[in-house]
Amino acid sequence: MPIGVCMDELVRKAEELARRYGISYYEIRVTKVTASHLTMQNSHLEELALNTEIGIGVRAFNGAWGFSSANDMSRAEKAIETAMKIAKLSKGNSRIYTGDPVKDRAEIKVEKSFLDVDIEDKLSLVKEVDSLLKGDSISNRKVFYGDGLKEQFYFNSLGSEIETVVPRVRLGFSVTAKGNGEMQQYWKIFGGTAGWELVEGIDFPRWAEVAKEKAVALLHARSPPSGEFDVVMDPELTGVFIHEALGHAVEADAVKNGDSILAGRLGEKIAVESLTVVDDPTLPGRFGSYVYDDEGIMARRVEIIRDGVLVNYLNDRETSALLGLEPNGHGRAQGYNYQPLVRMSNTYVEPGDWSFDEMVAEVKRGLYMIGDKGGEVDTANGTFTFGAKEGYIIENGEIKEQVRDVALSGSILDVLKNIRAVGDDLKVDFPGYCGKGQWVPVDDGGPHVLTRALVGGLL
């Protein structure tokens, strides 16, 4: 990774400073990101950016963490010294998992690097998608494309030296339809840890038609009814559901801070027997995938719930030591200038044996809800909200008229036990970003799932 500083020199300097300040553990990330980004609305290019950024983030541990970062590599040594001085000042009494040193180089390989694609070709792609979105009643077309290659050198005081190369690409579009005295939107997003081949594999004409048809149809849809209903969730909604209803509450920092309703419940049956939930950063090509986390721990597949029983938390160096758990590589940072926090990667519900038709037939009066509009959770109280892009009324086992977007809500401990059916059709391909003071790329999904939730409809 050519960044204008000698890594061996930096490693030596860190050792020397650690001796001077009496620091027992430290870890340093030097990161280079090469990124391009384009956005277009109504055939009007809004942004075309090509940038490379290099920076350093340093953490030093002395029973509590000291951290410093710099985006100017001439300040690299200063950042190391600052983090160590802070740690020395801190004198906490926490412990961390250290483990054995790791020397490795790991690259997520692609078929065709987006760095080899001219910016002109990326612009042509954006224009082509924009033109596919044109149509009657469409008042706004928005297209975005973004890619970034993250090259990182991680080293720590144990002697670990890990070089990783992770490419990520994400693109999507939205349309806004106007008519019938209403305005409505629909959108579709693609992405993964992949190269330009991901873009080449997308059937844009088909997805453009889907988005336009949905947005226009929603102009004539009513809001769903309000109250508690049986809800069949599609794989995308299942994804945001499980991310909010379970994922955040099993992040071990929430558990540590008394901020999770699932604290102290390992080994307890918290869901129906048919539910198994996994967080897996090793899934090939998914947007939330990585090889090593930002604490130099190898990423691992984690079964969170197995057959209804809570079996593990997602953890980092600190929480694995505190809770006596095997480290599973979920310490992630937004960038070199952020400290790692416990985060999800690709979170999904394992498939069961119900077909979609069987599931719908179960519902006397309920809703079939589709798509992800984000969500939020209060992990301590266990209340969560998640949004669907659209849906349909189900009456006596039959799908009826379309309804608008809506948010749904539930209580973690109730809703996981109210799951009545888990479908056989797994899909994990809904790339997004998760916010927790820092943004990190994640994916989620699952099969169709039937549960019960509070629907915030207007009728």
Binding site: N51, S69, N71, D72, Q185, V406, A407
Partner: protein, 429 residues
């Protein structure tokens, strides 16, 4: 170094704009009443926009210490991007003389030694341990920062402003029996006395106690009072329709000012000129002097939020709302959003009060539909509070704003949002 960059740019036959930043900050994270994470970060960088043959190019570099060759390559690269970019260029602002807003810089914050800030965080943590009480777990954060930002362009604008900031948060969890959570957040421009930190702790604990005692309410439809935080969440859904780019690109409910959007009692402003507030600035990210903009006056939409580019596209007056950092081109944002106080005394209101909601990003700004989870609310009867939570507050933002029956007299500030209580018609499920 900025001067050197400008001298390189002046020799090119292009329009240019340089935006620079330099700053540092210390922040402290408290977990379980112990100071667990302390950090000190430095940042600096330059964003460069070049207008060339009607097209705009942008790129940035981190750091402010660069040799001439690096700067020349930076300029060359950005000019090249302008030539291929196809982003329409509408010129840069010609500026004007901004009036300096008072109270944006506090020397005490700038000069506080890191060790003293660290000691303040230790005291904050220790006070949490003293105040927490049985069955309560506290966490929180404290941050102090100082920064300088500047903008110069080929129209002769050259402005620089130094500012400081402080933020405090506390989060309380009641763990015994039924759980409850409470939180408090506030930001400032100047160093606050320790009482302000203590007050954050006690407010979080009080809220957690109410939350712990809260049950779910039966359904309700009718008059209710929205506390400033809850009203801010709902007003925010409307504000997304007022961004100039949304209007220009057909992604807003509105195409021109003049439409009634709320009851007569509601007046909302965007005001970067209020002294000492977190959202204040003397000039925006393009060097346009900050100014007070009335967005809604007595229920009527008066203005959109605009930067130079979208004001030009829409043929409207620039409101000076370009927000940015050096890594990005300017985008439109709010400064301080102020809901003007009304005449009602809503402090003693008896009935349903919504204090906090969450999930507002799942709302639909263009249809106006929202369904938000109630984090905390209470029913007030004969002066007594019965808290509730976990219901959903549902409605349509355009209908709720038109249903406003009264606006309170006393305002509360949370960060850069200032509002009184608002009485409106709503539905809870």
């Amino acid at each position: 170094m900025i001067d050197e960059l400008i001298s390189i740019l002046e020799r090119q036959n292009v329009d240019w704009e340089v935006y620079w930043e330099k700053g540092r900050g210390g922040s402290f994270k408290i977990e379980r009443e112990r100071l667990e994470r302390s950090q000190r970060k430095f940042h600096s960088g330059i964003g460069l926009r070049i207008g060339c043959r009607g097209k705009l190019g942008f790129s940035y570099i981190t750091g402010l210490a660069h040799d001439r060759e690096t700067l020349e390559n930076f300029v060359k690269r950005t000019i090249k991007l302008a030539k291929i970019s196809e982003v329409p260029f509408r010129g840069f602002p010609t500026g004007g003389r901004p009036k300096q807003v008072r109270g944006l810089y506090d020397k005490t914050i700038d000069e506080i030694p890191f060790e003293d800030a660290h000691a303040l965080a230790e005291d904050f943590a220790a006070r949490m341990a003293e105040l927490r009480g049985e069955g309560v777990t506290l966490s929180g954060s404290l941050a102090l920062g100082v920064g300088t930002s500047g903008v110069a362009n080929s129209n002769g604008v050259f402005l620089e402003e130094r500012s400081t900031g402080m933020s405090v948060s506390a989060h309380a969890v009641m763990g015994e029996g039924r759980t409850g959570t409470g939180s408090y957040y506030q930001s400032y421009r100047s160093l606050q006395p320790f009482e302000e930190l203590e007050s954050a702790i006690t407010r979080a604990i009080e809220e957690a106690k109410l939350s712990g005692a809260a049950g779910k309410l039966g359904g309700y439809s009718g008059e209710l009072v929205l506390e400033p935080e809850a009203f801010g969440a709902i007003l925010g859904i409307l504000l997304e329709n007022l961004y100039g780019d949304s209007v220009y690109f057909g992604r807003s409910r509105f195409s021109r000012p003049g439409e009634p959007v709320a009851s007569e009692g509601l007046t909302v402003m965007d005001d970067p000129l209020i002294g000492g507030l977190p959202g204040s600035y003397s000039f925006d990210g393009e060097g346009t002097p900050g100014k007070r903009t009335v967005l809604i006056e007595d229920g009527v939409l008066k203005s959109f939020l605009l930067d130079h580019t979208y004001a030009s596209f829409l043929g409207m007056e620039n409101t000076g709302n370009a927000v940015r950092d050096f890594r990005t081109v300017p985008h439109i944002g709010t400064s301080n959003v102020v809901v003007e106080p009304g005449k009602e005394s809503l402090e003693d209101f008896e009935g349903i009060v919504i204090k906090k909601v969450f999930g507002e990003h799942t709302a639909n700004p263009i249809s106006g539909d929202f369904s938000l989870t109630v984090g905390l609310g209470y029913v007030v009867k004969n002066g007594e509070l019965r808290p509730f939570r976990d219901n959903m507050l549902v409605g349509n933002v355009f209908e709720v704003l038109r249903s406003i029956l009264g606006v309170g007299r006393e305002t509360v500030r949370r960060g850069s949002f200032i509002s009184p209580r608002v009485l409106a018609v709503g539905k809870i499920v």
